[in-house]
Each structure stands twice: as structure tokens, then as C-alpha cells.
């Protein structure tokens, strides 16, 4: 691996200044479980590593007005084992507990995962079920980027030069909402991840979110399929129902699948249908 210089800022502003100063040659570093693999493999040139973990408070996992705020240096393990996450955001805890393997979870961070934007990954697809935002700090101050707008292409985010992600804010699901997230694959990284969130009032779906990860280049919502769920009676949403089958078909049509080592486009579209159906049934159950 090429030599690099380590920078250890003590504030986000300092980190941001370092990034701006060094430009393309600098990379932000939190857990490093993806970044260092890429650097070791020679895929990512980097002469300056800017460590966010030396910024005080970056590893916090806390509630802020009901929203879960996860600092950029909080590891997957810290997140899934935090009592507030397990109690108030059990699905986040459940998915975080199954990211990669225990060693990666002990080092890797949620913010780092989102910033790296590896397509075959779960967290982004999960967070699309929530109102979630990335909190970023740059030269012109702090701004928030909706999770849906954060990743724009594989390994590419909407962060501007010099911007540092400091936290991920996750709002609780609305009252009456139930959610499920399913992943599938035989490889180290997931082949598909599907999330479903249903808000039910008086037995009828009044809000629905479906998210898809690992299949499209960037995790995405499936709005056309979601629309078909509105007005459906929750009790009818089981894996055998024709309404769910229709939703699954719509989801598969929107999957934006690509051929890769995980399978063909055709098979992945099929899987989208299967897991959308299962996720809806699980959320509705």
C-alpha cells in the first residue's frame, strides 16, 4: 500500500479544512473497513487520511427530540448494542447486527458505510424506510442531506468537496407503522436487501415505503410499487395475496438490476418480487 500521512483533527471544521486543502489526495477515515481494503487493493489513491475518530463526541449514539443521532465514528457494534437503539429502533439494531461479520462491525461505522456507497450493502436500503438524514459540515457550515439523496452512484455521494459527515439522524417511524427488512445472498456481501414499512390506520394502509438495496447501483425507494399498497387492508397483505403479487411485480419492474457475480438481471428482478412480497407480509403480520 502507498504511504500516506495521518491527520487527526479535533473538530469537524478542522477536518473539513484539511480535506479542502489536500483535495483529491485526502480521504476521510472512520472505521476504514471499506476504505483501507480499497487502498490496499490499489483502487483508491490516498496520500492523506483524515481521521474523524479524534473529533470529540463523534462516537455518540443518542436521542435528540425523538430522533436517533448516530455519530460518524459510531461502530455498527456500538449502534446495535445501544439500549436506545434496541428499544426504540429495533429494526436498525437487527440489521446492524447482521452487517458483514463481527470483526467488521467492531470497527466499521454506519457513516463510513454510507459514505463509501458500496452497492452491495444493507444500511442505505434500511434507512430509506425512515426519515433519515446525513448531517454534514463544510466550509459554509452545516447542512442535512436526505438519505435518499446521499448516494448518487456506486462509490459516489452528494457530499461537496470539504464536507464531512458528522452524524446520521434517523426519525422514528410514524405511529402505527410497522417495518421489516430482509436480506439474501450466498456471498460475503448481500445480493439483495428489501425493506418494507407500512403505516396502518383503521386496518388500511395509509402510508407505505419499500426500499431496495444491492440490486440497483444505489439503494432506492420503489414509489410505483408503494402507491399500489395505499388503501389495501393490512390483514390481506400476506405472501399469497394477489394485491401483494401486483406490488411485487411493480417493484421488480423498477428494480434497475444489473448483471454481476451475484446473478443475472432476470434472476435479480425475480428476487425483488419474492422479497418485496415477503417483506410486506412480514411487516403486515
Amino acid at each position: 500500500m502507498r504511504p500516506f500521512t495521518l491527520h487527526e483533527p479535533t473538530s469537524a471544521a478542522e477536518a473539513s479544512a484539511l480535506l479542502l486543502e489536500r483535495g483529491e489526495a485526502a480521504r476521510l477515515y472512520a472505521g476504514g473497513t471499506e476504505l483501507l481494503l480499497a487502498m490496499k487493493g490499489g483502487f483508491l489513491p490516498c496520500d492523506h487520511l483524515v481521521n474523524v475518530k479524534t473529533i470529540p463526541g463523534m462516537d455518540a449514539v443518542a436521542l435528540d427530540g425523538g430522533a436517533l443521532v448516530i455519530g460518524a465514528a459510531a461502530t455498527h457494534t456500538a449502534i446495535e448494542s445501544a439500549p436506545i437503539v434496541r428499544e426504540r429502533f429495533p429494526l436498525v439494531a437487527q440489521v446492524e447486527r447482521r452487517v458483514a461479520n463481527a470483526r467488521v462491525r467492531n470497527v466499521g461505522t454506519l457513516a463510513g458505510n454510507l459514505c463509501f456507497a458500496e452497492p452491495h450493502s444493507d444500511p442505505a436500503a434500511l434507512l430509506l424506510l425512515y426519515d433519515a438524514e446525513a448531517v454534514v459540515e463544510g466550509a459554509s457550515g452545516e447542512r442535512r442531506i436526505s438519505i435518499a439523496d446521499l448516494q448518487i452512484a456506486p462509490y459516489e455521494t452528494a457530499l461537496e468537496p470539504g464536507e464531512v459527515m458528522t452524524a446520521v439522524r434517523i426519525s422514528p417511524l410514524p405511529g402505527g407503522a410497522r417495518a421489516a427488512y430482509l436480506k439474501f445472498g450466498i456471498h460475503h456481501r448481500p445480493t439483495i436487501g428489501v425493506g418494507a414499512m407500512l403505516r396502518v390506520a383503521e386496518g388500511v394502509v395509509v402510508e407505505a415505503r419499500l426500499s431496495l438495496g444491492s440490486v440497483p447501483p444505489v439503494a432506492r425507494r420503489l414509489p410505483e410499487a408503494e402507491a399500489l399498497l395505499l388503501g389495501e387492508r393490512a390483514e390481506h397483505l400476506n405472501a399469497e395475496s394477489s394485491a401483494v403479487a401486483e406490488v411485487a411485480d411493480a417493484a421488480a419492474a423498477q428494480a434497475d438490476a444489473v448483471d454481476d457475480l451475484h446473478g443475472s438481471t432476470e434472476y435479480k428482478r425475480h428476487l425483488v418480487g419474492v422479497f418485496v412480497r415477503r417483506a410486506i407480509a412480514q411487516a403486515a403480520a
Binding site: 450466498i186 456471498h187 460475503h188 434472476y267
Partner: protein
């Protein structure tokens, strides 16, 4: 065989390397260092097939901290090529590159970072050639061949008139099956430390066959055998990947050039581009009578042997030997052709040609059973070769009964009254079996010395490599048994061609049988000398003295081994040396025929398939191993379980994926091997111990057999569950999903 009760043989005692391996003190090649040692890095071809126009290493050579850069131009005053059967492999590419990842140059530098930096500075210019990828392209031969021709080797075994006999059969069935390229993933990638000096070449290597490496190095560097020393520290797994000679000549040539010791340790990606298992396509045609009796079989297997011969000749031959399966045929023709392609060279991998053959044969057997409406177990029982019959004409007769254990284990597995449980509409379950027998054991050439020291402890010198299979433990148990010593008094030393007698190889499930026999005979020789000494001491006949637990006794008197050896040498130290040399002419008469023994494989699987995703899980797996006599039953089970789990890998996940000659999954992120999560809920090995092997105490080889039956047993279970017959491995979810869709459409 003696009637006395065994003291250590047959006991599941902890391995003799337990303390070292559980304390982290066990030393593997990369844990060693020599003074002044340089670190090596390879420059690899990015292209699968090309002429080398030029290699410019001047910038790399000029880099401070670089000791030497080896290219083909530096291979002077020595042989440039090596290989076990054919010397077709250049030490670094010469004139042409034949696969992506072939070394074109190597750097020795002060540290690895510097060597890596230097490799980046090597500039090579190529003239690209169309790559020959896959069996079809190799057979078509429409572009420049990989070697002088694309055919590596042809082989045939035949008797009777298979083609003619087919016409008279009630039914003829034909199937074609493919098996992918797979990678051993020995967790320790290949590693070598070479120290070249004018009169002496010393090599520490993760090699399975140190004596074959020694011979190869002596030839390449034009030295006498005594001038070359090959030491094998602990080895982090082999499975065939470290058989014969791999990177040792390159490391030695680099050491010669650098004028200092050199360490070359491969990465997983480089190991994957060093050796793999042969991909195959096999077609079987069987003539069967209406009652299910097999009459004639014609089969053909094409093997993708990659860019160089490596062990391709022997693998091609074994593939043809093993493809017909464990059945009786009046008429047989089995042919094999090994083909060169522009991919990683293929060589030995746990049962060469075995899993590929059984995959085809045993899937085909179930197809016949299904077509004839006969239970797959009954069809096998009807046609299995019987004890005392020839499985391959002119070879050793089968000593073991196959039918009785197959029927018995089937009963234990619940074969006859199996009812699939359904836990959800999309989950289906089924059961399947497979059976195979392989000619194993390789050449019966092994030697051993046993030194009984003046304090009654003993050192065993034997050439087997401890690659994890537990040879050092089993051989220590045999020596302790024969020397009448406690196991704790016996040490088996590491392979070192300077210090241990010749052993042909560690592979083909041969070590307990052949090296075991060598240790047994050498220890018995030492014991006989002790009996003579005791007889002189007690003034009686040798037959009258009893040796046990490190002492000799006669009529209530006893003397320790140490004191007795003191008597022999007049009290001034000394030691008793027992020796043996095993050859086909062994006095037991049991090693004269080929093969040394037949290795049995049987597997029973229950699977569950998610019919919506195609994901297959193995719920239950029972494997049958036939060690004849298990020297250490826990180690035999462990070998068999490990082999079976490795079989689960090529059955469900493993495949080296090439696109246009580029390996697309050269890492453990994308090349999936089995994990704890793939462990079947019930996973058993049944040991057959009938004392019918040619090794010590009736032992015969195991360790390879467990991998052979897995794929067909699982695929047959999938067929049983769903009616879908899959002809290509691995059974990935997508492949299974497609097969289920086709079956449902049909």
C-alpha cells in the same frame, strides 16, 4: 496381526501438535526468518495470452533497497523450465504469457513495501493473442494454441465391446454434466524461503512433496540431491494445492540472483492463480437391462487443465478411471482428454478427478433409477462391484464390501421410510445418496528411521508432511504402539530432506497406509533389537521377554529401556536405530498391486430448497469413510468431515469465474467458501473398520473420500425434493431457480 490389546492405536488421543497449535507457537514458513533475508514480490501478467515484446526492469533495479529483479533473461546457467510430468513451466514467463497472473518477473528487496514499489516500476510490452478459454475453444483450436497444441493428454480404459453391447440392451441412457474450476483455499497461501549458495541450496517451503521438490530443484540448478535441502515447517492446509513443485524454483532463482536468502509468500489472489481443480465436462452412456442390471458403459470426460501441465496427465488418467463409478460392467470404455486453456494451471485437488467423476456418474445413476422406477439404493446394490471382483480390469481386486455398509447406513439415515416435512409452502425437502470408490495411495515408496534413545524416548524420522491431516500424531501412535512406549515418549520430526528418509509424497490418502507401514516396520525393527538385548540381559530367548510401557521384563524382573540401552553400549549413551524402506515388494505382499488400496466414499444428504429463491440448504449429511483400522478415530472423522464440508463448497457455492480470461472473483469476498452457517443440523461420519487395508493393523487411506459423494448426493436429494435435475455445478440459487422453473414448465 498380534493378539495383544492396543495401548494407543485406535484411541482418539489429542494430537501431538495440540500444545503448539493452541498456544500460537506452531511455526509456519512465513513465521521464520533468516539473517539478511530479502522479501520478494511477483510481477504478474495482466493478460491471459500474449507474446512478450519486452520487459524493462531498469527502473525497478535502480530503486534503492532493491536487491534483484528476476526476468527470463536472468535464467542462465540453469534449467529454465520445470514440471512434474512435463517440464513445460518456465520459472518466469519466457516469450509468451499463458494466463492472467503468470509471473513475468520477481523482485527481491529490503522489505515487502519496497518490493511492491519496485514491481510497479516494471514495464512490460505485450502483443495480445486471442485467449483460449473453455473446453469448446480448446477443442476447436481456431486460434493460436496455448502450448504447441491444446491437447495436454489423452487416456482410455476399456474392455469388452461397449458400443456393440449397447445395441442389445433394453435401455440406453445418456447424460452430460459439468464441474467448475474451484480453488483449494488452503488458508496459508504458498510460501517459500530460499537460500541459494554455490554448493548448497536450502529451502523452507509449505510443500506437500518435499522430496519431489528437492529433485526438481537439484535438476533446475544442476546440483546433486545431497546439495539441496527442503524443510517443511507446519503447513496451513494443502488439499493438493501444495503438491509437486510450485514457486520454489522461482524463489531459489531469485535468491541466486540477489545473493541472499529470499522469502516469497503469496497472497490469496496469487495462490488462486497458482493452481486450481480441473473443470470438466463428462458424458456417460449406459446400457441397462429392464431389471436394472448395468451391462455396458461408454463415458468421456474433457478436462480443462489450464495453461501448463502441472499434474494434468495424472488427473486426466484418474478422471477416466473414476468416471465409470463403483459398478460392474461387462463392457466399458472410458476416455479422457486433458485440454490446455489460458487460465490458472490445474493440478491436484483432494481426490484427483474423483468429485468430477462421481458428480456425473452418481447423478446419472439416479436418472436411470428414476426412469426405470427402481429405488436408487436398490439399483446401486444390484450393480455395485462385489468383494474380490475387479473394478478396473487388471488392477487390484476390491477388498471391501460396498453393498452391506451402503444398505446399513441407508437404514440408519431413514432412507426407506423417509417422509419430507414441510414447514412452509415454498420449502421442499428430499433425500439423496451417492457412492464411489477411487484408486488411491499413489506409489508405495516410503522410508523411516526410529531412534530409541538412551533414556528410553524415541525420535521418528519420516518424510510425511504434516499438512493438518494429523500424520505426525498417527505416526507417533504407530511408533509408540510398536516400541511399547507411552505416546508422550515419542517425537515425530518435521519433514527435512537432510534428516528424514525418502517419502514419495503426501497426498492420495497414502500417508497412514504407506508412511505408517514404514514407521511400523522401523519401530518393529528397533523393538526386535530391544528384545534381543533383553534376552541377552535376562539370559533367555527373545520370545520369552515382554516389552511394555518402556520396560522389558522376564519372570517378574524388569529393566527400563534406558538401562537396557546402557547395557548394550556399555553405559556410554548410544541408541538403537530401527529402519525400514517400503517398496512394492513389501514382505506382506500387500503392496504389489495397483492401486495400493481402494478408497471408499458414500454420502447421504437431506436438503431443503427454497423454491422461490433457489437457495439449497443441507439439513442432514452422513458420510461413510473406510479407514480399515482408525489409528486415531477423532482424526479420521475430522478429515472426513472437513472433506465433506469442502464438498459442500463446490456443490453450492464455489466457482472460479473467468470473463475473457480474467479471473473475476480472485478473493474471499467474491469466492464463497463454506462457513459455520453452512454446517448441517445433523452431520455424521460412519467409520468402517474391517481391518482389510494393506497398512499397519489393517489400515487404509482416508481423507479424500469425504469430498467425493457430496455434490451428487445433494443434487439427487434436490431431484428427489423437486424433480429438477441439475447438470452443472455449483447449485447456486439462480441455477436452482432456473432448473425449477424449467421443470415446472415441462
Amino acid at each position: 496381526m498380534s493378539a495383544r490389546a492396543f495401548s494407543t492405536v485406535g484411541q482418539a488421543v489429542p494430537r501431538v501438535d495440540a500444545e503448539e497449535k493452541t498456544s500460537g507457537r506452531a511455526k509456519y514458513t512465513t513465521d521464520l526468518a533468516l539473517p539478511g533475508m530479502a522479501y520478494a514480490k511477483l510481477a504478474l501478467s495482466p493478460l491471459p495470452h500474449a507474446r512478450i515484446v519486452s520487459i524493462d526492469a531498469s527502473r525497478a533495479r535502480a530503486l534503492p533497497g532493491v536487491y534483484a529483479v528476476l526476468t527470463a533473461a536472468e535464467l542462465t546457467g540453469m534449467e529454465t523450465h520445470y514440471g512434474s510430468d512435463r517440464k513445460d513451466r518456465p520459472i518466469v514467463a519466457m516469450g509468451k504469457v499463458r494466463f492472467e497472473g503468470e509471473p513475468i518477473a520477481a523482485v527481491a528487496a529490503v522489505d515487502l513495501a519496497k518490493a511492491e514499489e519496485a514491481v510497479e516500476l516494471i514495464e512490460a510490452e505485450y502483443e495480445e493473442l486471442p485467449p483460449v478459454i473453455g473446453l469448446e475453444a480448446a477443442l476447436a483450436g481456431e486460434s493460436e494454441p496455448v502450448q504447441e497444441t491444446n491437447v495436454c493428454h489423452r487416456y482410455e480404459v476399456a474392455w469388452g465391446d461397449a458400443a456393440g453391447a449397447m445395441a442389445a440392451c433394453d435401455h440406453v441412457f445418456e447424460d452430460t454434466f459439468t464441474f467448475p474450476m474451484v480453488y483449494h483455499y488452503a488458508m496459508e497461501p504458498h510460501a517459500v524461503i530460499a537460500d541459494y549458495q554455490a554448493d548448497r541450496l536450502s529451502v523452507w517451503s509449505s510443500a506437500q512433496h518435499p522430496f519431489l521438490v528437492r529433485a526438481e530443484l537439484a535438476r533446475v540448478f544442476r546440483k546433486r540431491l545431497d546439495q539441496v535441502r527442503v524443510v517443511v515447517p507446519y503447513v496451513g492446509g494443502g488439499y493438493g494445492s501444495k503438491s509437486y513443485t510450485k514457486i520454489e524454483p522461482l524463489a531459489a532463482a531469485l535468491s541466486r540472483l540477489a545473493g541472499r536468502p529470499v522469502r516469497l509468500a503469496l497472497s490469496v489472489e496469487e495462490a488462486m492463480k497458482t493452481v486450481r481443480r480441473h473443470a470438466t465436462r463428462a458424458t456417460i452412456r449406459t446400457g441397462v437391462q429392464a431389471d436394472g442390471t448395468f451391462v455396458a458403459r461408454e463415458c468421456r470426460v474433457e478436462l480443462d487443465t489450464g495453461a501448463y501441465t502441472d499434474n494434468g496427465v495424472r488427473v486426466t488418467e484418474r478422471a477416466a478411471d473414476r468416471l465409470p463409478g463403483p459398478y460392474r460392467f461387462e463392457h466399458l470404455r472410458s476416455e479422457a482428454v486433458g485440454l490446455f486453456t489460458n487460465t490458472t494451471p490445474a493440478g491436484s485437488f483432494r481426490s484427483i478427478g474423483g468429485p468430477q467423476g462421481a458428480w456425473a456418474c452418481e447423478s446419472h445413476t439416479d436418472n436411470i433409477a428414476h426412469a426405470l422406477g427402481i429405488d436408487p439404493l436398490e439399483l446401486r446394490l444390484k450393480n455395485l462391484v462385489r468383494p474380490g471382483e475387479e473394478l478396473l480390469r487388471g488392477r487390484r481386486r476390491l477388498e471391501a464390501d460396498l453393498a452391506a455398509p451402503l444398505a446399513e447406513v441407508a437404514r440408519g439415515f431413514g432412507w426407506h421410510d423417509y417422509e419430507p416435512v414441510s414447514t412452509a409452502p415454498h420449502l421442499k425437502r428430499g433425500v439423496g445418496m451417492a457412492c464411489a470408490v477411487a484408486n488411491a495411495g499413489a506409489s508405495p515408496i516410503s522410508g523411516a528411521f526410529v531412534r530409541l534413545h538412551a533414556d528410553g524416548s524415541a525420535t521418528v524420522h519420516v518424510g510425511t508432511t504434516e499438512i493438518g491431516q494429523g500424520s505426525r500424531s498417527a505416526l507417533a501412535q504407530i511408533a509408540a504402539e510398536e516400541l511399547r512406549l507411552p505416546l508422550s515418549s515419542v517425537r515425530v520430526i518435521a519433514s527435512d530432506t537432510d534428516a528424514v528418509p525418502y517419502d514419495r509424497s503426501t497426498g492420495a490418502s497414502r500417508s497412514t497406509t504407506l508412511a505408517g507401514l514404514a514407521v511400523h516396520d522401523a519401530a518393529a525393527d528397533a523393538r526386535a533389537q530391544m528384545e534381543d538385548a533383553a534376552a541377552r540381559y535376562f539370559e533367555t530367548f527373545a520370545e520369552q521377554v515382554a516389552l511394555a510401557e518402556g520396560s522389558a521384563s522376564f519372570e517378574g524382573e524388569s529393566i527400563s529401556y534406558g538401562a537396557l540401552i546402557g547395557q548394550v553400549f556399555g553405559g556410554a549413551g548410544g541408541e538403537i536405530v530401527g529402519r525400514s524402506a517400503i517398496t512394492p515388494d513389501h514382505p506382506s505382499g500387500k503392496l504389489a498391486e495397483d492401486p495400493v488400496f481402494w478408497e471408499v466414499s458414500m454420502g447421504f444428504a437431506e436438503v431443503e430448497v427454497d423454491t422461490e429463491t433457489g437457495r439449497v440448504r443441507v439439513l442432514r449429511y452422513t458420510s461413510v469413510a473406510d479407514p480399515g483400522k482408525a489409528i486415531n478415530p477423532a482424526q479420521v472423522e475430522g478429515q472426513d468431515e472437513g472433506a465433506a464440508m469442502q464438498g459442500v463448497g463446490h456443490t453450492l457455492f464455489e466457482e472460479m469465474r473467468y470473463e475473457e480470461g480474467q479471473l473475476m472473483n480472485p478473493n474471499l469476498i467474491d469466492y464463497r467458501v463454506p462457513t459455520f452457517g453452512d454446517l448441517p443440523d445433523e452431520f455424521h461420519t460412519v467409520l468402517l473398520e474391517r481391518g482389510d487395508g494393506p497398512g499397519p493393523y489393517g489400515a487404509k487411506g482416508v481423507g479424500e473420500g469425504g469430498i467425493v459423494a457430496v455434490a451428487p448426493a445433494v443434487a439427487n436429494a434436490l431431484f428427489n425434493a423437486t424433480g429438477a435435475r441439475i447438470r452443472d455445478l455449483p447449485l447456486t440459487p439462480e441455477r436452482v431457480w432456473r432448473a425449477l422453473r424449467e421443470t415446472n414448465d415441462a
